[in-house]
Symmetry: C2
Subunit: 226 residues, 2 copies
């Protein structure tokens, strides 16, 4: 009778696709994507599970919407300035977003139709590349390669069981090195030992690879120009 009487005469805020998606995103962030069930989602919205189906169609569509919401969080590149810094800022933003929502990358391979935020994102990136002088073909290459890089980084980040350099150093000699006897894995053993001693930070890999790719693309751009 008064379960929804929040403060004062406030209405209980009606359900809407946006509210459902936002709650789903929050739930996936806090409890993991496997814990996202229609019942639990409804609970968080003071609604029954079946009420949600008036706003999302089915769970697949819910997941599609969640992924697109994640894409919407990525800062789009400006265009017209130094294309490398534009792409770098955009890629760093994308990496941060995918790290904040680690479940998103696990959903990506099964979502085959891009949402509006995804289209806007690709439009903006393509625009920046074309304005920097890339041909349609080369812009396509660059687009594919950069997406590839960002997705791959998200997959690797999600599959690593540590978060920062300190944790990694701890894990290397607690759990990794014991599994890497020098006789069976001489090279991995060598690497692990060396990395532990040089406080290696896997987060640096992202910027290293990104620069490598951007430089290579720039070389291609210049050589195609002449």
């Amino acid at each position: 009778m008064e379960a929804d009487a929040g403060q004062g005469a406030g209405a209980p805020t009606p359900l809407s696709k946006e509210r459902v998606l936002r709650q789903a995103l929050a739930l996936a962030d806090s409890e993991g994507i496997d814990a996202l069930s229609m019942r639990k989602l409804g609970q968080g919205l003071n609604a029954g599970a079946m009420s949600l189906y008036h706003h999302v169609g089915n769970k697949e569509e819910l997941l599609d919407g969640m992924v697109d919401l994640v894409f919407a969080e990525i800062e789009l590149p400006e265009s017209g300035g130094d294309w490398q810094s534009e792409m770098r800022a955009w890629a760093v933003s994308a990496r941060g977003v995918l790290a904040r929502h680690p479940w998103a990358i696990t959903l990506m391979p099964s979502r085959t139709t891009p949402g509006p935020a995804n289209l806007r994102y690709h439009e903006a990136v393509t625009a920046a590349l074309r304005k920097a002088g890339f041909s349609v073909q080369m812009a396509t290459h660059a687009n594919w390669l950069l997406d590839n890089y960002i997705y791959g980084a998200a997959v690797q980040a999600a599959s690593l069981p540590f978060a920062d350099a300190g944790e990694l150093a701890d894990m290397i000699d607690d759990v990794f090195l014991p599994q890497l006897p020098a006789e069976e894995y001489p090279y991995l053993n060598e690497s692990a030992t060396a990395l532990m001693q040089s406080d290696y930070d896997p987060a640096d890999e992202f910027t290293y690879g990104l620069s490598l790719i951007l430089d290579a693309l720039e070389r291609d751009r210049l050589s195609a120009k002449s």
Copy 2:
């Protein structure tokens, strides 16, 4: 009584972890990873669902094993020759394997402990790189970057709703272009139109990006040597 009397006096082949994993892989390949349930898996092995738990612990462990089986399919690089061709052959093999088992990449982000095949794979790649003259640090960079590239390509391939160049061309003007009005998405529209007319094959992107990365790594290797 005679359900397992195959040909002659053949015993029904006892269950084993390997047999369970192989059947699971076959089932995921043919019906998709979502259709892989313990009951159905048992059925294919003439066993009850609960019998499987004497060989795999739980479903997570089953998935871990399946992913490692996939890694085992990847051809390892030789070492000692031209490192770029070695890495190229290996990467192409990895791409093929992940394309044959599209569900594997969706599992990857959630599997945090590498299996033995995964370790062997990284050992072989690291060996090839070190023997080619890469330092430990640079071999780590290269390892990370190449893994990144392969995983990213698998994610993109899995999320694209077409298989080859012909299908793409068909889809571009049947479904993509109508969704990309030139006013809202001028650049994507331009790209889609241009690509359709030049029978663009997304499979070529893989070799383009791979060469770009290998060349860039070679440059780094040489400049660090001097």
